[in-house]
């Protein structure tokens, strides 16, 4: 969907006026990655070899294998790189390493692979210091700016579930001793939808932003904690209006929604392992399911108690 807008043609590009001794940097054909690299190389003479990764960035394409050994060897051949440069060295971004076996690239196309720094902004230093890296240049980081930038992506991912949740909530909201009431559906449904949105906000935005400072390891626990604090504040303000049953329902529902949304954020971080996520989910999902049942029971039950 609109991917081609972010795509550039895979071939050999020149930055400045490179010659046969200029370095060759390899990257993905995701336009933002390419532009960032070109910007950092400003003022230098270098070649950029762009691989076909389907418009996907280096890290994701390496995980998929499209930024991979075969593609590197293929591009080196199709661009006739061996005739363009005298040396036999390719500089690859370190984050491409999950897809590329450096020793096999050399076997397949005669070029040896040097892994450059994780971040494009360290590349000028890497080049001027004869391809030396510091440990910092080799580590991924996950600063608050990056976590915040992911918020719109996370929220967009919850658009469709939110539609379904609203439908279910407005339907459930109308159920009571009166069998089904449109006015109850509207009023109670609005309130419940608000709780849903608050839960998503807690789990998909607040938890990611505060991530390293929230106690615990599991994202579902962190999300549950944030949602719990938020729910306690709301409950304290509206306890009279809510009553015991609805108040309790709120205290269970908001944390569980937040917990689930936060668990979903595992996929956007550069430090969660699949084995870890699996372990977390095996524990969290049964608890989350039980909490949902409890919250719905309390909420629907509140109409009978009134």
């Amino acid at each position: 969907m609109g991917r081609h807008r972010y795509r550039i043609e895979p071939r050999l590009y020149a930055v400045g006026s490179p010659g046969p001794d200029s370095p060759v940097l390899v990257t993905a054909n995701y336009k933002m990655t390419f532009d960032a690299l070109r910007k950092e190389l400003g003022g230098q003479n270098a070649w950029i070899l762009v691989l076909e990764t389907g418009g996907i960035n280096v890290w994701c394409a390496a995980g998929k294998g499209t930024f991979g050994t075969e593609e590197v060897a293929r591009r080196v051949k199709t661009t006739r790189l061996a005739e363009v440069v005298n040396h036999r060295r390719l500089i690859l971004p370190q984050l491409g390493a999950p897809g590329v076996a450096a020793h096999r690239v050399r076997e397949e196309c005669g070029f040896s692979v040097v892994y450059g720094p994780v971040r494009a902004q360290d590349i000028p230093r890497f080049l001027t210091e004869r391809m030396k890296t510091t440990p910092e240049m080799r580590r991924v980081v996950f600063p608050v700016s990056e976590r915040l930038a992911l918020a719109p992506v996370e929220l967009a991912g919850f658009l469709r579930p939110t539609g379904w949740a609203f439908l279910a909530l407005f339907l459930l909201a109308g159920i009571g001793p009166w069998v089904f009431s449109p006015s109850a559906s509207w009023h109670r449904g609005l309130g419940a939808s608000g709780v849903w949105l608050a839960g998503i906000l807690c789990g998909a935005v607040i938890t990611p932003v505060l991530l390293p400072w929230i106690p615990g390891r599991a994202f579902s626990a962190k999300g549950g904690l944030v949602g719990g604090c938020f729910a306690a504040c709301i409950a304290a303000f509206f306890w009279e209006a809510l009553g015991v049953f609805q108040g309790m329902a709120l205290l269970v529902a908001l944390p569980v929604i937040s917990s689930f949304a936060a668990m979903n954020f595992t996929g956007a971080t550069p430090f969660t392992s699949p084995s870890g996520v699996e372990k977390e989910m095996r524990r969290a999902i049964p608890l989350q399911a039980a909490a949902v049942v409890l919250a719905v029971t309390l909420w629907v039950g509140s109409t009978f108690a009134g």
């Binding site: 999950p98 450096a102 080799r138 390891r217 996929g267 969660t272």
Partner: protein, 98 residues
């Protein structure tokens, strides 16, 4: 990564020391600084910080390292439960280009 720790005792990362030739590739490619190479042999410093990206095993020329690579993502794990694991490795659409 300081301030960021995830689940302990779960990484599938394994190092077979006898096979290691001390080439220094694993400390180069690991984005979490898991390895050090000393006197011709690699050592795992902090297995619990491993995110199972697979970079080290892929680039080890002597097959001394093994790890089950994948993406640490909830929807990926759910799909793994529902379907085959292998296919899944290919599915990372969720993190496209962030």
């Amino acid at each position: 990564m300081e301030g960021f720790r995830y689940m302990d005792g779960v990484s599938t990362l394994r190092l077979e020391e006898v096979a290691c030739v001390g080439c220094g590739m694993c400390p180069t490619v690991c984005p979490h600084g898991i390895f050090t190479v000393d006197r011709g042999k690699a050592t795992i410093l902090d297995r619990d910080a491993c995110m199972e990206c697979g970079a080290c095993a892929k680039n080890c020329p002597s097959d001394a390292l093994s790890v089950t690579p994948g993406v640490g993502c909830a929807s990926y794990v759910i799909q793994g439960w529902l379907g085959g694991r292998k296919e899944l490795f290919r599915n990372i659409s969720k993190h496209a280009n962030v």
